[in-house]
Amino acid sequence: MKANCWYGKHDVRVKEVPDPTILNPRDAIVKITLTAICGSDLHLYDGYIPTMEHGDILGHEFMGEIVELGGRVNNLKIGDRVVVPFTISCGNCFFCEMQLYSLCENSNPNAWMAEKLWGHSPTGIFGYSHLVGGYAGGQAQYTRVPFADVGPIKVPTELTDEQVLFLSDILPTGYMAAENCNIHPGDTVAVWGCGPVGLFAIKSAYLLGAERVIAIDRIPERLRMAHEKAGAETINYEHANVYDTLMEMTGGRGPDSCIDAVGMEAHMPGPLYAYDRVKQALMFETGRPIALREAIMACRNGGTISVPGVYGGLVDKMPLGSIMNRALTIKTGQTHVQRYMRPLLERIQNGEIDPTFVITHRLSLEDAPMAYQIFKNKQDECIKVVLSPN
């Protein structure tokens, strides 16, 4: 089969590789009909996540048709059309039982590596480095899906692939980011980053009752989409001081909650950016928490910082004093995707959300290397790429 493999920083190639096979009784093989590139993949593409190996198959947002089943998967049958969550979760452990699926204790065969870096290991993830299991990903024609009796969700035929694909990651991620804000009627939510995650966070914040959502980015077409398709007020951080503008908009109090949908590769005009780039490059910090710092400083007293943005290791100059003295709450995590798939599928069926609005590029799997390039460099007004592998 064909698969998009990682060969180093800014080097991905579509290769002919052996077909996946069932390795465990709870596995399934999915023939992929649609797959996507995520902002998280860019952290791998840019070489910021350690323990990638040459030839690793990328991709964690995918859906398709069940073509093979292990002996212990009883709730699916060959031919079922499913969306697969990016978190690989067993459904049996302490955390899965609490529906904290991204903290599954049983799906990361390399848990010891993650323990060295983070103290404890999170769940295994498709195509996301050996730290989180080294599982072959879904930017391919076929993928092996472990714990297939727990993860994949069957989707009704009347919905198109594009309508349901993002249940695999970014829609639940945006939703959980908003849910973590504990929104009350009348709340103002500020969202840093108008990539697909930020856009779905904006939508979800409104769904959960926010009165005002303010979106921050610098890419014109993303700000436009945040405004026109998701209904946010916008701030272009290259044209205005974000903190001052937010204070002006909220009578000096600050937003009730702030979402960092940017993560470890944040950008910023000015010298502090150079400071973080150098520190990150020298491995004195592994993330540039620029948006996060700004979100903390701007948030109102007693407010909530929700962090869907991915961080890998250590960051520098965290305003802990601001967090402590102003009684802020921080909520974060890889998304507990399995928890949100069914309710969000219902919202899609009801017409409350149509996630297709973020798609700007429909390409074939072979185009993956080019697609990574334009998505990374925000060329051609690229916001979200979906790839057809078959």
Binding site: M1, A3, C5, W6, Y7, R13, K15, E16, V17, P18, D19, P20, T21, L23, N24, P25, R26, G47, P50, E53, H54, G55, D56, I57, R72, C90, G91, N92, C93, F94, E97, E105, N106, S107, N108, P109, A111, W112, K116, G124, G133, G134, Y135, A136, R144, P146, F147, V278, A281, L282, M283, F284
Partner: protein, 310 residues
Amino acid sequence: MATQTTYNHGSQSWEGEPGKGSAQGWARGLGWFSVGLGFTELLLPGPLGRLIGVRDHRTLIRAMGAREIAAGIMVLKERTPTRSMAARVSGDIVDLGLLSAGLGSRGARRGRIVGAAAAVAGVTALDVLCTKQLAEREPSALAETVQTIAINRSPEECYQFWRDFENLPRFMKHVESVRVMPEGRTRWIAKGPAGMRVQWDAEITEDRPGRITWRSLEGSDIENTGSVRFERAPTGHGTIVRAHIQYRPPAGKIGSVVAKLFGEEPSIQAKTDLRRFKQMMETGEVATIEGQTSGRAHVEQSARAAAAHA
């Protein structure tokens, strides 16, 4: 008045692992330094080259980086990292050599190179000191590891599964078979590198719900004793399993096989086996990526095909 809780489950006292001294602490610190420096060299050969005054040597600096990371990881992996500390020392000497070669190359900035060399020399001195300390204390000591894991099953279920010794190879990575013999004895066969096998017989010295202990018998390839305990965790938290393993690898050829099997990182290995036990108990299978497809499989195949044609 508040009552004081002392955490004294059975014979366990909470004093940490034996034999952790300052040399090992140093070794770990240096290990992390290596990993950090290595990543810098690997990811940023250009700016680093400029910073320390050697331009045009990106590939070389990258190679030094890879070497540094490997050395660092080796140090971090080993419990008593004498061998890898020695590797670090020789690596430092290579770096020093390269830096002094740099003094002669075009475009080299002397002041900076000397600064960098001084930094590396400082690290080298530390490395040498640390290696010496570790070498002095390396005995034919009993290796020992204590590992615990929480399992979302009752102590009875965990005990039952473990007590069926023929189940053990299902989660002990290197154990090929355990055969139950008469009189509470078991025969263990473990896989070594290159198809080598090591074998030992053990007797069960204690066996009751909650606790199993064993001891290897005379003539074993590896002298070892161990215990595994299944303690009820606070309500809703299942079982805490505690494994305590001590072993003394023999010298000679078998010794080196055993060292490869158990010697490299017995604590991580024991922990991994416990984790696999947990996976069996909770999910009925052991999570794995062994045998999955990748862009490497393809490369290997074509390499093999090319070799066949040559």
